[in-house]
């Protein structure tokens, strides 16, 4: 087991080294100036500067706060609404067209308005994140709730379970795999939302750092900003995957129990 883990890490490091070598090769062969394509060395040097003066961590923390708050808000609203839509055909008929339409509204176009409505601080960025994560989580909630087998519902009814018991003991566990799938997608999308919000009006955050790099023609800074956003999104995805493994352990255990 440990050996397999070590070889996986080794493979990942090898592929990263190959990627860096390819990148450096393109810079050498193409003879590109740093403002078009900086070398990995130039980007690593910029990364070192930003780590040394603490600014990368500062901006990453700002974006992370916006992402987590936006993801929380979006998840709360989407799961509540999703639950309602899954259980009420009337609500679905009334609201579904608006929900689908909301997905086709480009967030980039709405973001400046959100800044006017909710101010230039944290709230407008949180709302942008929430809007962007809303749809995938809502859809997954509806799918998850509807995936609960009718027999199990009948069983809960036969056992005279209360509504809360049905939700907590049947619907949530049954819908959790799909819900967590939505959260994994939502977590990465929330990072995009935070960057969109920061692009409109901000003086901090990784989106701001990216914009600063663009405005100052500091391409290595742009690369560091993109890299930091990728790491942030991957970390969030990884955290969700971990949560999925922990929360759904019971499924694996019960299935293996059945197999035995």
């Amino acid at each position: 087991m440990r050996r397999r883990y070590t070889s996986r890490i080794g493979l990942a490091l090898l592929s990263f080294a190959a990627f860096l070598a390819l990148w450096q090769g393109v810079v050498w062969l193409g003879g590109y100036p740093p403002f078009i394509l900086p070398s990995p060395g130039a980007v690593l040097k910029r990364l070192g500067d930003l780590l040394a003066d603490g600014s990368l961590w500062f901006h990453a923390r700002v974006t992370l706060r916006e992402v987590l708050a936006g993801l929380g808000l979006g998840t709360l609203v989407a799961t509540l609404l999703g639950y309602g839509l899954a259980h009420s055909p009337l609500a679905e008929r009334l609201l579904a067209p608006y929900v689908v339409a909301s997905q086709s509204v480009p967030v980039v176009a709405v973001a400046p308005l959100l800044v006017i409505w909710f101010g230039t601080g944290l709230l407008s960025k949180v709302v942008v994140c929430a809007l962007i994560v809303f749809f995938p989580i809502l859809v997954n909630t509806v799918v998850g709730m509807r995936s609960v087998e009718r027999d199990l519902r009948d069983l809960m009814r036969a056992l005279e379970a209360s509504r809360w018991q049905t939700i907590w003991l049947l619907e949530v566990p049954a819908a959790l795999p799909v819900l967590l799938g939505g959260l994994k997608v939502g977590a990465t999308l929330a990072v995009v939302g935070a960057v969109v919000g920061e692009f409109v009006a901000s003086d901090r955050g990784l989106g701001y750092l990216l914009k600063q790099g663009q405005q100052l023609y500091d391409t290595p800074l742009v690369f560091v900003g993109i890299g930091a956003l990728v790491v942030l999104a991957q970390s969030l995805y990884g955290a969700m995957a971990l949560a999925e493994r922990v929360l759904l352990r019971w499924r694996t255990e019960s299935f293996s129990g059945v197999a035995r």
Partner: protein, 323 residues
């Protein structure tokens, strides 16, 4: 008989030779895609006038407008992908600091158009009154920030004297909703819109306190070196359009109708925007760069921390391409 033969055959031969000799075709016009740095707007009137009146065509240039971002235009020119773009002086200095060989060849805006605007009811009457107030600014870089830093330095406002808030390009809403006491704007745009909407405003123009370089036409060092005739032709055509616009703003506004969406519905405001903007272009000779303004711009950019070391401002511009 012989004479008749000669009279018949020679014109025939001349005619035939004439038919076979290739007629020299008119030279193909040089196609130039010009990154404008902003959306189609009456502020680009001199360009529209120059195209519509055939000044570019007369120089053998076919001009296409590209309404992309200013920084993208600077990058394209720096990389040699396109020969010209419109960009402000501070952008040229910042780009040169990163190795982009861009040079300003026409100093289009002779007065720096950034200003601080406040509603009259705020009690702000001059830059000193900004102390202790909340001032909205679009970004912490770019021309607005450079203008703000220059103004603050001249009037002695320290960083902690003012609560500076980044509000993006939502100055009008934030100002009229009372979320900020004043906002950094383009003097030829937002104040005009506020006035047209019936607000009484106080305007503090950066140009009254500092001489900075604003929007101009840029090229790259390679084009300047290898295609000087194209550069001069391009500059000549643009300056003719600029001169025409200054002489006849009404005529220029009519030309803009073809290029700017929604001009008819918003005519009063847009006409006022053009009339105000024209004041920022005036100055003889047209397009001339003031070396002192470049030095001052470099000092402000350095002081603002956007440049870490000097970039030889004298290499960032040339007046040699002006007619």
């Amino acid at each position: 008989m012989k004479r008749g033969f000669v009279l018949f055959v020679i014109p025939l031969l001349v005619g035939l030779v004439g038919c076979y000799c290739p007629v020299r075709p008119a030279p193909e016009p040089t196609h130039v895609r010009l990154p404008m740095g902003f959306v189609a707007n009456v502020q680009f009137a001199p360009w529209y006038v120059a195209v519509e009146r055939g000044y570019f065509a007369a120089e053998g240039i076919e001009l296409e407008f590209d309404y992309s971002w200013e920084t993208d235009g600077v990058r394209l020119v720096g990389a040699g992908e396109t020969p010209f773009a419109i960009a402000s002086g501070d952008q040229v200095l910042l780009a040169r600091a990163q190795g982009l060989p861009v040079v300003t060849i026409v100093n289009w805006f002779r007065r720096f158009p950034v200003a601080v605007v406040a509603l009259e009811e705020s009690g702000i009457q001059g830059p000193q009154d900004l102390a202790g107030r909340k001032v909205g600014i679009p970004e912490t870089f770019g021309a607005s920030y450079i203008g703000w830093r220059a103004l603050a330095a001249v009037v002695g406002l320290e960083e902690n004297d003012v609560s500076l808030e980044v509000i993006g390009y939502t100055q009008l809403a934030n100002l009229t909703e009372g979320r900020v006491d004043a906002a950094v704007v383009y003097a030829n745009n937002e104040p005009v819109q506020l006035a047209q909407a019936g607000y009484d405003t106080v305007l503090v123009s950066v140009a009254d306190y500092a001489t900075l370089v604003s929007n101009g036409l840029i090229t790259n060092e390679k084009t300047l070196r290898e295609r000087p005739e194209l550069v001069r032709a391009f500059v000549r055509a643009f300056l003719r359009g600029l001169a025409d616009t200054l002489d006849d703003p009404d005529g220029a506004f009519e030309v803009c109708r073809k290029y700017v969406e929604g001009l008819d519905e918003n005519e009063t405001v847009q006409r006022a925007v053009l009339e105000t903007t024209i004041l920022y272009w005036q100055g003889e000779p047209l397009g001339w760069s003031d070396p002192a303004a470049w030095q001052e711009t470099e000092e402000v950019v350095l002081e603002a921390g956007l440049l870490s070391s000097p970039v030889e401002a004298e290499k960032a511009f040339t007046n040699d391409c002006l007619p």
